[in-house]
Subunit: 413 residues, 2 copies
Amino acid sequence: MALIVQKYGGTSVGSVERIQAVADRIIKNRENGHQIVVVVSAMSGETNKLIGLANEINERPAAREMDVLVSTGEQVTIALLSMALHAKGIPAKSYTGTQIKMLTDNAHGKARIMDIQCSNMQKDLEEGNVIVVAGFQGVDECGNITTLGRGGSDTTAVAMAAALKADECQIYTDVDGVYTTDPRIEPKARRLERITFEEMLEMASLGSKVLQIRSVEFAGKYNVPLRVLSSFEESEGAGTLITTEENEMEQAVISGIAFNKDEAQLTISGVPDKPGVASDILGSVTEANIEVDMIVQNVGEDGTTDFTFTVHRNDYDTALELLTRTGETLGAKNVRGDNSIVKISLVGVGMRSHAGIASTMFAALAKEGINILMISTSEIKISVVVAEKYLELGVRTLHSAFGLENDGNLVNL
Amino acid sequence: MALIVQKYGGTSVGSVERIQAVADRIIKNRENGHQIVVVVSAMSGETNKLIGLANEINERPAAREMDVLVSTGEQVTIALLSMALHAKGIPAKSYTGTQIKMLTDNAHGKARIMDIQCSNMQKDLEEGNVIVVAGFQGVDECGNITTLGRGGSDTTAVAMAAALKADECQIYTDVDGVYTTDPRIEPKARRLERITFEEMLEMASLGSKVLQIRSVEFAGKYNVPLRVLSSFEESEGAGTLITTEENEMEQAVISGIAFNKDEAQLTISGVPDKPGVASDILGSVTEANIEVDMIVQNVGEDGTTDFTFTVHRNDYDTALELLTRTGETLGAKNVRGDNSIVKISLVGVGMRSHAGIASTMFAALAKEGINILMISTSEIKISVVVAEKYLELGVRTLHSAFGLENDGNLVNL
């Protein structure tokens, strides 16, 4: 008998009929002999409706009261899902964030989980109950209601799984798993049966919006096997399992190709090179609370340096203005920017032990005449910046070069 | 500086505009130098909407889950009202039943209040906050959410006032106070400036549905001055104050005339009179969980007795059937019933010290040809049962006979 935590999002519980379908799925899992804890979101549309009401009353509603308000959405769902299970003859019991008690800090709207008390739940499970937990919400030490921020229900599910030492945490979504890349760009993209936490983090942070990043971090930290699967498919063991790296006979070098269209690039060149120049250049940008992603610096032969970095495209105009002023102060030769670029990344834990990945990547892109504007590497990722017009061609070229469509990149370790 | 607890029902907070109007009223009271605790219901229609959803999913939803579901209604209102106060520059803080903590027994849907912890609230009040409390809901010792039943927000308000030792508990409704009788029957009915808890209980239990009976009992028990007033009127000190009997110079003999159209009368006559006959007669009725209101017994000259009682009209058919069987067992001469009767009652603490009230009442009714079917008296009430067709005439006759339209029944004590 396994203990499984399942999470269903707002679309999966968006109507009476869908709540009943979720109940059926839970019952099926239960009949396979599993103990089930379910984490649910608010019915789709409800949270936005409540936020709309709040904004009618107050343009800047207090975060504490906003949490009191929006947390009612999940509370409605847990009651209705429990009633649906009862109607089908299954014992079930609902818990709010306050009741379980999902202890968080007091950062309303983006609280972080600190502890969960599960003693009641263990007893309820032993008595045969399905436990239905309100996602997204917690309670601080003073008893104030908090929320974890949008998508926080994923994190609730992982935290529950960690606290209860569950055998698996299943996140039901509208896609059936994690793909080698976006199937809308490369129709040959293939669903991954498994992926490591680290790879998933890179994929997620690069725009594969299957899971909330925090939930993946949490799962990795507490080693909770995490499975992404579709609400609309039936077979057990489907989807993508996100888990720790294991010593398997076969290991993929590259797991997937992620990309990010939200960035813009800025370059300051011909800056006299001396200690502290990097912090001088980035100082005004970070003071303006603009987040910097990639950073590349080259030292030229004439004692000057070229410095390039990327920011979110929304921050491009401000960053360019600030950098122009910095350039004048530092006596730079030139300041320029480009907001029609994209970042394409190869992700895979396998590349740790394999040389030649980078050169294969660069050669494949060169063959298609795609000019690389910027390169950045990490242990399990190689990212290149290219002109936006090359996004689709670049992704498809790399997908094919590493044989992602047909497991072609498996190697014996 | 006074501490005032105000309660606003669902209609008063039924829209964004009304919530803002309630905020304005609170601010006005606060500007008069008062500390304010506000108890609110769910926005009108919300509770029924939630119950509708539940019934779509489960014909007999579990009471525990029902409480989890419907308690979200008040939680939405407390957040929105707090935001409305913030928007007008007033510090405010919301509390759910769990947060205050409104400790109740675990009778879901009809829980009784056992204790309130007010330490946080005292501090919040001292810091200048308006406290906004979710009515109708509580929490049991295990942390389960409970509700007090329909109209329970009145009880929440009185309980808060008792716990905080408030100077007054104000219940805002759609009427501007308690009247000498129903103005729809007697247009000359007059608003009472004050009434005692005992009188209000009699008026409420007889169908004047201004306040929930439990809230009046609670207020009497803890001696909380209770004021009923209109959400739509402006002046302070208006409405009707419900309070303890005081030694005032002038005291009304009769405060009001209540009536009840929901009763039916049953009579068993010619029963051999012996000890225990009353309990034999009522036994089968009370075993069927039928509540009996008035009971009158007369002993005849032939050693038999006549026994008459009233029940709720919904229980009439069952009660008549049971009584017929009892009549056969006991050898009664006759069993009959009448479900087109009404009860009319004079209510007033003043009648304790004044003889002649009953004879004035009977004479006034006789003068209009109204036949009295049954009489019952208590310390502060005289009730008569008459044919239903005489309801309006009877009420108006008594209203006039005791000069209720113009304070004519005031006497020097």
